[in-house]
């Protein structure tokens, strides 16, 4: 199987940011995103999804390297200071490179 190298950017953050984040991600050049409702804990304490203010989402974006950098940087500068946020990047392979 021949795969093409891409980046997977994963952003775990407060669900209040969902709509803004999606807009930002698409503006920065990604062609898609996938979102999942999660709960968790970290520096900002436990976020157990028991109350609206306590819900997290996990956003996954497959994109090329520059877009990944742009998204990660953007999230760091715009959201990471004031919102519970975790970002990581992984190397993955995709089959249809034209899609991402």
């Amino acid at each position: 199987m021949q795969t093409h190298a891409r980046k997977l950017v994963v952003i775990i953050t407060e669900s209040a940011l969902e709509s803004m984040l999606v807009k930002d991600i698409l503006t920065l050049g990604a062609h898609g995103y996938t979102i999942c409702d999660v709960r968790g804990g970290g520096r900002h304490g436990a976020r157990e999804a028991a109350w609206e203010a306590d819900r997290n989402i996990r956003v996954e974006v497959i994109c090329d390297d520059p877009t990944a950098s742009a998204i990660a940087e953007h999230v760091r500068s715009k959201y990471a200071l004031n919102y519970a946020t975790t970002v990581f990047v992984a190397d993955i392979g995709v089959l249809r490179p034209e899609k991402f």
């Binding site: 999804a49 203010a53 919102y83």
Partner: protein, 311 residues
């Protein structure tokens, strides 16, 4: 004690003993959609029986109340509590806005004691929800370098779930009138108190979960969250008297003034004033003031307002 309050205590206890009892998120959301619609419908049906004109002065008075309350709370938070500007504004916004469930508990309280009230009071819930939030945001932004996107914010606040459902219910109730809503009455009116009881169970679970936040934020919030509601209730009672509400109406308006938002305000402040610490305001509104109002406040406001009314 009212069963509604007992359900709340059951939730509190379940949480304190670390039971695994949890209401599924969808159930909590479903119950709150129901409550918002039901309160709106109830108010709308009553509004249909009244000419609207004479209500306008009351509307003005209530709006004024909503603008004043956060302006009173802010300096206390800023200079007594020594909160920074964003935190002080955010907490002020929460206390300027209202809690729909506290209102519902107060309605149940009056019902049980046979105290009548203006049935269109839900209109005032809608009117009081927004101004406090707007004033809170203004307080945070005045003098702040960062510009605020007012358009997006107005949208967030005015078209937020709770306003849409309350207003929607109000308008539907108003257009339809009591007769057309007859087939809906069973679900929305007769089952109301029982659904409220279920919701209070969830509120107990969540409120008790906020207590550990309180330990971090210290005694000030505990004092603020119990003393300020009492003062606000008295102010609300005075305004009620000024605009000519009945005793029951005044108890409700006092309770509304005393109540703090934990749905609309947190969502709006998170977007508008992200640098404010959300757990401060939630610890106060959910962890202190909500239980205080439900367990102690409402009967107390009944007395205070009763005294005002010479009843």
């Amino acid at each position: 004690m009212d069963p509604v309050v007992l359900f709340f205590l059951l939730g509190v206890i379940a949480r304190l003993v670390r039971s695994d009892l949890r209401l599924p998120e969808a159930m909590y959301e479903g119950l709150s959609i129901y409550l918002l619609l039901a309160i709106g419908l109830k108010g709308g049906v009553e509004l249909a029986k009244h000419p609207v004109g004479p209500l306008l002065p009351q509307v003005g008075g209530v709006l004024l109340l909503g603008i004043t309350l956060p302006l009173l709370a802010y300096p206390v938070l800023r200079y007594v509590g020594r909160f920074n500007r964003p935190d002080a504004s955010s907490v002020a916004a929460h206390y300027g806005s209202v809690s729909m469930v506290t209102f519902a508990v107060a309605m149940a309280y009056l019902l049980e004691r046979g105290i009548s009230h203006e049935q269109y009071m839900p209109l005032f819930v809608v009117l009081l929800e927004v101004p406090g939030i707007v004033v809170g945001i203004l307080l945070a932004k005045l003098g702040a370098e960062r510009r605020v996107e007012w358009g997006a914010l107005a949208h967030e606040v005015l078209f937020g779930r709770s306003i849409v459902l309350l207003t929607g219910g109000l308008v539907i109730g108003w257009i339809s009138g009591p007769q057309a809503l007859e087939p809906q009455a069973k679900l929305f009116f007769e089952l109301f108190k029982a659904v409220l009881a279920l919701f209070m169970l969830e509120m107990g679970l969540v409120a008790a979960g906020r207590i550990r936040d309180l330990r971090r934020t210290g005694l000030f919030l505990l004092a603020f969250g119990t003393i300020v509601p009492c003062i606000f209730a008295a102010i609300g009672g005075l305004v009620a008297q000024g605009i000519g509400l009945s005793l029951g109406g005044a108890i409700l308006l006092g309770t509304l003034a005393a109540s703090a938002s934990y749905i609309a305000a947190p969502a709006a402040m998170r977007i508008a004033v992200p640098e404010a610490n959300p757990s401060l305001s939630l610890a106060a509104s959910l962890g202190v003031t909500f239980p205080f109002n439900v367990l102690v406040g409402i009967p107390l406001y009944h007395r205070v307002v009763g005294y005002l009314y010479g009843a």
